[in-house]
């Protein structure tokens, strides 16, 4: 946390009253802590993106290319013809205001342009001005605005202040999806070389090395090997973790943070234990070593470019089907886009669990199974020996990650797993979970240090709900199935709710899983001794 960060008591003084000035007059100030740095020139060049240059949002002159208005106009027109969603969402909003206080950024900031309706109006006003008869004739009276540098700066500020979580879309009577609008606005800005560093860099890394962190193959192998060694120390069991193994039955793809960041790492240990214990014939891939896809936050084309690796690698290795790890936006891409973008996966087989015989009919064509689906099925068929009391030192709650819920519907599988491996599970209030879940506030490429204040604001509703179960049920860990969550919820909770940890569902599975040939296991996967928590360390088989 930087020195000049506002204290929580200051930050929560939120003024929800709208300003006097009409929203149609663009006014955006780039204040420290509430925006992201511009994409780096080298990465833009590496990805062959247009107009790479050195610039920063806080500078007056963004060095916009000549004729940038025309480029955006053409790009807008093209997308209006390619996406029914965009045209519909531009046309039918009635500004009923139902979405206004559904956005975590509005709740946390009070900035009226963080109401989804106004965020969309930023784009819609230009749409009216350029593409509708009423707007062309009546201009401002019809809600039309000319695209100016001021408007463009607003686009940048507010469309990189949306995490594409889709919560507003749940409440909208027409299902208008701000994520879709934000994606389109970001695509338009990309056309004139405007993007942010924390999207550009992971995307370039992923394109080159296969993962967002830019870890090269040997580094990838090192971290997996290291986890194997550590797991042996923790459990006494030496697991196998094959990489790039041809002819394995299953390819496993996880977000790269799982093998390089904490607390993700404990989830990785959980996967490794689980796969070993059931004897899964699987392989990791260094080439497709990223489940996440920051291309989703960039453009449909970039999403496709990065996602292509998963099927190509599955084909090269000759696997039968794919399992995907704990990740949020990864599952939006896998579930809603992958087959369309890079399918058909006709070289794979319809997934069938080798242990339970369950045919995963819900993945018949995509052929990729979510690990929660896979594990829930194993537990349901009693294939795992579990001792939930080994998680008794944790009083858990579960954060539904935006995308697996609102772009898939993964609700009961993780809950079933958690209830099978933990004894103390308490839900947060109902308006903050399941389809109404609140974003961590740092998704869609916004999880940077320079954007810290805005992240704390956006994460306020989530943290506030955690506070509630922390106060009422003494909850001390927030479980989630998303790599961005695991990276950004710890600082969020440290800021708003100190004393609550963040963990993954398969970390809990790992703790509870009784392995053949294990030694005493006096600690949990974090190395915390059980004695300290008032629990015997040797009560397992």
């Amino acid at each position: 946390m930087a020195e000049d960060v506002k204290k929580p008591e200051e930050l929560i003084q939120i003024d929800y009253g709208p300003p006097k000035r009409s929203w149609m007059d663009p006014a955006v100030k780039f204040e420290r802590g509430s925006y992201n740095y511009a994409a780096v020139k080298d990465n833009q060049e590496y990805l062959s993106l247009p107009f790479p240059r050195k610039w920063q949002p806080y500078e007056d002159d963004w060095q916009l290319p000549d004729g940038w208005e025309e480029i955006i106009f053409k790009g807008f027109k093209e997308r209006l013809e390619k996406y029914r969603s965009l045209r519909i969402f531009m046309d039918i909003c009635v500004r009923c205001g139902a979405c206004a206080d559904k956005c975590h950024f509005f709740i946390g900031s009070g900035d009226p342009k963080n109401m989804p309706v106004l965020r969309a109006e930023l784009l819609r006003s230009v749409y009216r001005n350029d593409f509708t008869t009423a707007g062309k004739v009546l201009g401002k009276f019809a809600g039309g605005r000319k695209l100016t540098v001021g408007v463009l700066k607003e686009w940048f500020y507010y469309f990189y202040q949306c995490t594409e979580c889709r919560r507003c879309s749940v409440f909208c009577p027409y299902g208008i999806d701000t994520a879709e609008i934000t994606m389109m606005a970001r695509e338009l800005m990309n056309l004139i070389g405007i993007s942010i560093e924390w999207i550009g860099t992971p995307v370039a890394n992923c394109f080159r090395t296969g993962n967002h962190l830019g870890i090269q193959p040997h580094g990838f192998k090192d971290s997996i090997d290291f986890a194997v060694d550590e797991l042996e120390e923790l459990t006494g069991v030496r697991v196998e973790a094959p990489i790039n193994k041809k002819g394995a039955e299953i390819l496993f793809v996880a977000p790269s943070a799982d093998y390089f960041a904490s607390p993700h790492y404990y989830t990785l240990l959980g996967y490794l234990q689980l796969f070993h214990e059931i004897g899964l014939d699987y392989t990791w891939s260094s080439y497709a070593s990223e489940g996440g896809n920051f291309g989703l936050f960039h453009s449909a084309e970039m999403m496709k470019r990065l996602n292509s690796k998963i099927y190509m690698e599955a084909k090269r290795l000759g696997v039968k089907w794919i399992i995907g790890g704990e990740c949020g936006h990864m599952w939006r891409v896998v579930h809603q886009y992958m087959d369309t973008l890079n399918g058909p996966a006709d070289f794979l087989e319809e997934p069938v669990s080798p242990f339970t015989g369950t045919r995963f009919e819900n993945t018949r064509t995509t052929k990729m199974v979510h690990i929660a689906e896979f594990t829930a099925d194993l537990i349901h068929h009693n294939k795992l020996k579990l001792d939930p009391s080994r998680n008794d030192h944790w009083r858990v709650t579960y954060h539904d990650s935006c995308n697996p819920v609102r772009a898939m519907g993964l609700l009961e599988e993780p809950r079933y797993v958690i209830n099978s491996v933990c004894n103390n599970f308490h839900e947060m209030p109902e308006n903050t979970i399941r389809e109404q879940t609140f974003c961590c506030g740092s998704g869609a490429g916004l999880g940077t240090d320079e954007n810290f204040e805005m992240r704390m604001r956006g994460g306020l509703p989530r943290a506030n709900a955690v506070q509630y179960v922390h106060d009422t049920h003494d909850v001390n860990i927030l479980l989630c199935m998303c790599a961005i969550d695991k990276a950004t919820l710890p600082p969020l909770l440290e800021y708003w709710v100190p004393g609550v940890e963040v963990g993954g569902v398969h970390e809990m599975v790992g703790n509870a899983l009784i392995m053949k040939g294990q030694h005493d296991r006096p600690t949990d996967l974090r190395g915390t001794p059980y004695e300290q928590n008032g629990k015997e360390g040797d009560d397992n088989v």
Binding site: I92, V94, G97, N244, R305, K309, D377, A407, M408
Partner: protein
């Protein structure tokens, strides 16, 4: 400003027939030509809108899922909130269109005691919206008594129910009361709530005022002005049978009413009112969440520059070899 602009336009729309029919006697223009033109604009305009939406591609299948997916056989899927079949989608759309399902979820967030966020159910908008839309539908349907001879039994039954309480003379239609109450609520919430006032455009006030004008002028004719109903039916039957006549003695209120309706018809296809048709095309609602079961085709898909495994191995072969990782080419 936006409100003022809307009020001025409404005033002009009322003044036009008042002056031109009342004083200048342009009955035929306002009784026949304008309604015909308005209807034509409405039908053609809306049709063009809908056809434009219909021909646009849907590159990706992106429903917003609001319940449990269909996955393992022992987990109960939410068939309406997260439909996996066409039947489920139809159910979801019916709930949406007939009962405003999503709006029913509405909550109001509040920061209490300076630190505690709460989300209370807030059904007012849902109730007001639903009340307006349903009564509007019934009122429009009731008007078929003016366009059909003999009056169909269903219209009569509806009128019977609508005047169930038998209050007043002529008997007061419940829908007349509800529609004016609902529109008044929807209008005033935009003015009273600072957040809504901030986001409201002229295009938000205007249709509410227009609809209020239509409702009030209609009510005025029926209950106070006691307009010559036989004359009106003669005119309306003339319009539908394409033999328009304008009988003598129809009061100016009727022409105001008819002109505001014409204005609504003309305004409709070029405004946010097209949500009536657009909601059916919303890709987050009208698609089944069967993404991993059935492949969705993007009609404008094109090949992109990818980074192949061969290129990757070429770049990293040495380090991979040193790390004893399997290689395609030694």
């Amino acid at each position: 400003m936006n409100l003022f602009f809307s009020l001025v336009v409404i005033a002009v729309l009322i003044a036009l027939p008042w002056v031109l029919v009342g004083a200048a006697g342009l009955d035929y223009l306002f009784g026949v030509i304008v309604p015909y033109v308005a209807l034509a604009v409405f039908v053609v305009g809306l049709l063009m809108r809908v056809l434009q939406w219909a021909r646009l591609p849907v590159p990706f299948r992106t429903p917003t899922t609001c319940g449990q997916q269909k996955s393992l056989p022992w987990i109960k899927p939410s068939r309406l909130e997260n439909p996996h079949s066409t039947l489920g989608v139809i159910g979801r759309m019916l709930l949406e269109v007939l009962f405003f399902r999503s709006l029913f979820r509405n909550t109001r967030s509040q920061l209490r005691d300076g630190s505690r966020l709460t989300y209370l159910a807030d059904k007012w908008l849902w109730a007001g919206g639903l009340a307006f839309h349903w009564t509007f539908l019934i009122v429009v349907a009731r008007h078929f008594r003016f366009f059909l001879e003999p009056v169909p039994w269903c219209v009569s039954v509806m009128e019977g129910l609508d005047s169930f309480f038998q209050i007043g003379l002529p008997i007061i239609y419940l829908t007349d009361v509800i529609i004016i109450a609902a529109l008044t609520y929807l209008f005033f919430r935009r003015i009273v709530n600072p957040r809504l006032r901030y986001i409201s455009l002229a295009g938000d006030y205007f249709p509410l005022l227009l609809l209020l004008g239509i409702a009030v002028s209609g009510v005025w004719m029926r209950y106070f002005d006691k307009t010559d109903i036989v004359g009106i039916k003669e005119l309306s039957m003339g319009l539908v049978t394409l033999g328009p006549v304008v009988p003598e003695g129809i009061g100016v209120t009727f022409f105001i009413h008819l002109f505001l309706v014409s204005a609504l018809l003309i305004y409709f296809p070029f405004s946010k009112l097209v949500h009536a048709g657009g909601v059916f095309f919303s890709p987050t609602r009208n698609l089944a969440n069967n993404n991993r079961v059935k492949r969705h085709i993007n009609p404008w898909d094109y090949p992109v520059k990818v980074h192949t495994y061969e290129e990757y191995e070429d770049e990293f072969r040495d380090v991979m070899k040193a790390a004893e990782m399997p290689l395609e080419k030694e």
